[in-house]
């Protein structure tokens, strides 16, 4: 694989810190538009507080609608950060360098977006605070450790805190660089505090590198456990269509599929927006596309297992749920769209090298993947509730409301604004990592050819 061209240190610093120091006009217009969408979502939320959850279209038997679908979707997107950052760091994949910061930042904001949805879904979010703090131990009430709704916040907040720590440790050299380049005294003071006295001594570099590797190893089980626990919100119940042991790995691999696709989308947008040619090259998206082929094929196998073992016992309630997922309501149209956008279009295209190395094609295919994966979560959650009871007179069709759609768009706006704000304050790529990559890349002469090579300890 070709390594990025080796820019000198000054060029790397100037390019990566450019957006922090100079604000283009599109930043203001884009932020204004996104904040408008977010504001619309906030208005819907306030309306929901006033009118109740029926404002969002919820009623018997489907009480988990778009809000929970979005919760699962954003948890899935958040898996990209750890996969790209930790797994590729531990396997010493050189193509990770420009990608890690973007992936980690998408993780942080998508996790926050995910956490918002159960709070909104409670209808009275402030009650979740005073139910939990202080907990009613005096009257003999204890948290129920058997409930996935206790496992969920434990896992998600552990993941959020460890990701923030992970990002922060990787940020330390860049914070030090920002401190040294800042002209504004307020900025300099802020970066001085955040940089924790990082001066680039050998001992500090060694500790920073070891901390990064240790955190990468520690965060991996958390990464697997988070979406497994979210999957168990569904699977440990006896609801037909949900009670399947394959849910945990199915959710995790689906999360990696949608998350890495989202990171590729974000990288391509960043390359165009921040003019990072030479940092994000065709080699990077080519490598990520190959990873996506393997992950997507694994996901398809797990979908096949879910489908097969759902119908395996030939229980009427399970069969009804799967028939609803394929033939009921709008699913004769949505089900083919789901499978076509998640796998049938993207993966065969990714097998073609010119497509993998084309930014336009990769942008389109990764967007399609996330449309398909959102539909997949919708397909998982809603039809099972529409056929939850074995009493057929309780069967119903769920119709999403416009207010829910606005909340979905608002969540996307929230994440994009968060990422933009981060990029405005801190460098969008790890400058130290990029410098290290440039330093370690070289060429090896084999016969008449010069082959890209990496220095490795």
């Amino acid at each position: 694989m070709q390594e990025p061209p080796s820019y000198d240190v000054k060029t790397i610093d100037r390019r990566l810190f450019d957006f922090m120091l100079h604000t283009p006009k599109w930043f203001f217009t884009t932020s204004a538009g996104l904040l408008t969408v977010f504001g619309a979502g906030f208005v819907v939320f306030i309306s929901m507080l006033y009118f109740g959850l029926q404002f969002l279209g919820y009623s018997h038997p489907v009480y988990w609608g778009f809000l929970i679908v979005n919760f699962v979707f954003w948890i899935g997107i958040s898996h990209a950060g750890v996969f790209v950052s930790a797994v590729l760091r531990l396997t010493q994949a050189e193509f990770r360098r420009p990608v890690t910061r973007a992936a980690e930042v998408v993780t942080i904001f998508s996790l926050q977006a995910a956490v918002l949805f159960p709070l909104i879904h409670s209808g009275r979010p402030w009650r979740t605070a005073y139910w939990a703090f202080p907990y009613d131990f005096i009257r003999g009430m204890w948290p129920n450790p058997r409930s996935p709704l206790v496992w969920d916040p434990s896992a998600i907040f552990t993941y959020l805190i460890s990701t923030i720590l992970f990002v922060y440790v990787a940020l330390l050299p860049d914070l030090a660089l920002a401190r040294d380049r800042a002209e504004d005294p307020v900025r300099r003071w802020v970066f001085t505090v955040l940089a924790l006295g990082f001066r680039g001594t050998s001992r500090q570099w060694r500790i920073q590198a070891i901390a990064g590797i240790l955190l990468s190893a520690i965060i991996l089980p958390i990464f697997v456990s988070v979406h497994s626990i979210v999957s168990w919100d569904f699977a440990v119940t006896s609801v037909p269509g949900w009670h399947n042991t394959v849910f945990a790995p199915y959710f995790v691999i689906g999360a990696v599929h949608s998350g890495v696709s989202a990171v590729v989308t974000a990288m391509i947008v960043m390359k165009w927006a921040f003019k990072l040619d030479g940092y994000i090259t065709a080699d990077h998206i080519d490598a990520l596309a190959r990873v996506l082929i393997a992950v997507a094929t694994g996901w398809l196998f797990l979908l096949f297992l879910d489908f097969s073992f759902g119908l395996y016992g030939e229980e009427s309630a399970e069969v009804d749920t799967w028939m609803q997922r394929i033939y009921g309501g709008a699913w004769p149209v949505l089900a083919p769209i789901f499978i076509i956008t998640s796998y049938i279009i993207p993966v065969p295209l990714w097998l073609i090298k010119s497509v993998r190395r084309s930014f336009g094609w990769m942008f389109v295919t990764t967007i399609l993947v996330n449309i398909g994966m959102w539909l997949e979560r919708y397909m998982l959650v809603i039809p099972a509730l529409e056929r939850k009871s074995s009493l057929t007179f309780t069967y119903s069709e769920y119709i999403p409301s416009i207010s829910e759609g606005i909340l979905v768009l608002a969540s996307f706006a929230f994440v994009i604004v968060g990422v933009l704000a981060f990029c405005k304050v801190l460098p969008v790529m790890p400058a130290a990592d990029i410098r290290e990559g440039a330093l370690l890349s070289t060429e090896l002469k084999i016969g008449r050819r010069s082959v890209p090579a990496t220095l490795r300890e």
Binding site: M1, Q2, R146, P221, V224, S228, W232, A235, V236, T237, S238, H243, N244, T245, V246, F247, A248, P249, F301, L302, L305, D306, S308, F309, G310, L311, Y312, G313, E314, E315, T442, L444, I446, R449, V451, P452, A453, T454, L455, R456, E457
Partner: protein, 448 residues
């Protein structure tokens, strides 16, 4: 500090160097001993076919043995494929010795066929075939697994051609020349080998996944009413990957210890990287087991609980505990320590425990299934069946067939070099030790 390299790479492979078939001291004695036991295994198979007819219970332990070979020897060649796909530099010396296991695995097909013939009708019980009845499950399972074994053997053969075609191919017999693709080492032939090995490898993985799903369901889950687990085929595959890596480690250690022409190529980097793979799969094993168990425990459905009582908690508790210790407890608490992962002999010891643990795990999964008489209905299974212990004939069968696997491997390794010559040369070209700052460092080339 550069990690220590195998001696052969450090001094660069000489142009005149050619890989040779396995040479082990006192190998004829070992070979003869294994051959006798292998013959015993074949005799036990024939006796079983003749005497038991379609009595499914008598094929319980042979089926468990087959599932064990599917997990161990059939999965070992994947290490070769994956390191080739990911261009893992440490994998060059072990790729051929991993791929060679596809030939012994092929022999285990002889156990599968008579076992499949004893499966009962699909009517009245859960199955993956739903309403389809033509050729299922026996013919369909045999076809998929057969294709898988043939693909593995073809992959091994294809990647051995450059080494086997030493000397002038034109002088060999027509059959040999066509089997060796009239190998002359042209660019086109090299490109063909590379592409074919990539696609055959992917096909092998696909067939392993689908074949495992089929046989573990038809010879496992569908024979115990109430046992419904979507993750079970995946659990079988992942524990198989762990056992496959364990087989590679044991093979590497034994060949490195007893074969002078293998020894120079195996170094600490193989141990460290195989150890990491083993640790990763050990953790994954626990994850898949837990994902299965927690759901069934939590939901508490009577039919599923009864199945779990047979497989874990009650009837086959002893093999379950033995399997759990062998697959997870002992390996995890050993491999997390760096000194263990750096020493090939320590990894080989742990790997042996894993291979034995994997066998017990297959016993507790497939012996109750194949010996269960009440296969119809959807559960719960009541009363629970009793444990079926192995008799002398089963033990002789297992010992004989295990020896046959080793015997076939050694026989093949004598003819096909266990170290891939062309890949070792490629690896030597793509790496160099060089100075960096005040130390030495490795330069790794990764051509497209």
């Amino acid at each position: 500090m550069a990690s220590p390299e195998p001696a052969a790479l450090a001094i660069k492979l000489r142009p005149s160097w050619k890989p040779k078939g396995l040479q082990v001291s006192n190998s004829n004695v070992v070979f003869a001993g294994l051959g006798l036991l292998a013959a015993l295994g074949l005799v036990m198979l024939i006796l079983r076919i003749v005497s038991s007819g379609d009595d499914r219970a008598s094929w319980a332990y042979p089926t468990a043995f087959f599932m064990w070979t599917l997990s161990t020897f059939a999965t070992a060649p994947l290490v070769a494929y994956v390191t080739r796909l990911t261009r893992g530099y440490w994998g060059y010396p072990i790729r051929r010795l991993a791929a060679l296991w596809s030939i012994p695995a092929l022999f285990s097909y002889l156990i599968l066929l008579p076992s499949l013939a004893t499966l009962p009708s699909l009517d009245g019980r859960a199955s993956l075939w739903f309403g389809f009845r033509f050729g299922v499950p026996g013919f369909a399972d045999a076809l998929t697994i057969g294709f898988m074994f043939v693909t593995g053997a073809a992959l091994m053969w294809l990647t051995s051609i450059p080494d086997l075609a030493s000397g002038d191919v034109r002088l060999k017999s027509p059959i040999t020349r066509s089997l060796l693709m009239n190998w002359r080492g042209t660019t086109k032939q090299w490109l063909l080998i590379r592409s074919a090995s990539k696609y055959l490898g992917a096909f092998y993985v696909m067939l392993l996944a689908i074949g495992t799903t089929q046989v573990t369901t038809d010879m496992g889950q569908s024979l115990i009413p109430g046992w419904r687990s979507g993750i079970f085929p995946l659990y079988h595959i992942v524990t198989g990957f762990q056992a496959g890596v364990a087989v590679i480690i044991v093979t590497t250690y034994l060949l490195q210890k007893f074969s002078p022409n293998i020894r120079p190529f195996i170094g600490q980097e193989q141990a460290v990287n195989l150890g990491r793979l083993l640790l990763a799969f050990t953790l994954l094993d626990f994850y898949f087991f837990w994902a299965d168990y927690v759901l069934i425990w939590y939901a508490g459905l009577p039919s599923e609980i009864a199945a779990m009582q047979v497989l874990i908690a009650d009837v086959y508790r002893i093999p379950f505990i033995a399997g759990a210790f062998g697959i997870f407890v002992i390996p995890f608490f050993a491999i997390i320590f760096n000194p263990v992962r750096r020493r090939l002999w320590a990894l080989a010891l742990i790997s042996t425990i894993i291979i034995i643990g994997n066998f017990f795990d297959r016993v507790r999964l497939f012996v109750p299934a194949m010996s269960n008489e009440k296969v119809f209905g959807h559960g719960p299974l009541s009363p629970l069946p009793g444990v079926v212990w192995p008799n002398v004939s089963d033990i002789l069968f297992i010992v004989g067939w295990a020896a046959l696997m080793a015997f076939v491997y050694l026989a093949v390794a004598r003819r096909i070099p266990a170290i891939s010559g062309w890949e070792m040369r490629e690896g030597a070209m793509l790496r160099q030790e060089t100075h960096f700052e005040r130390g030495h460092i490795m330069l790794l080339a990764k051509p497209e």
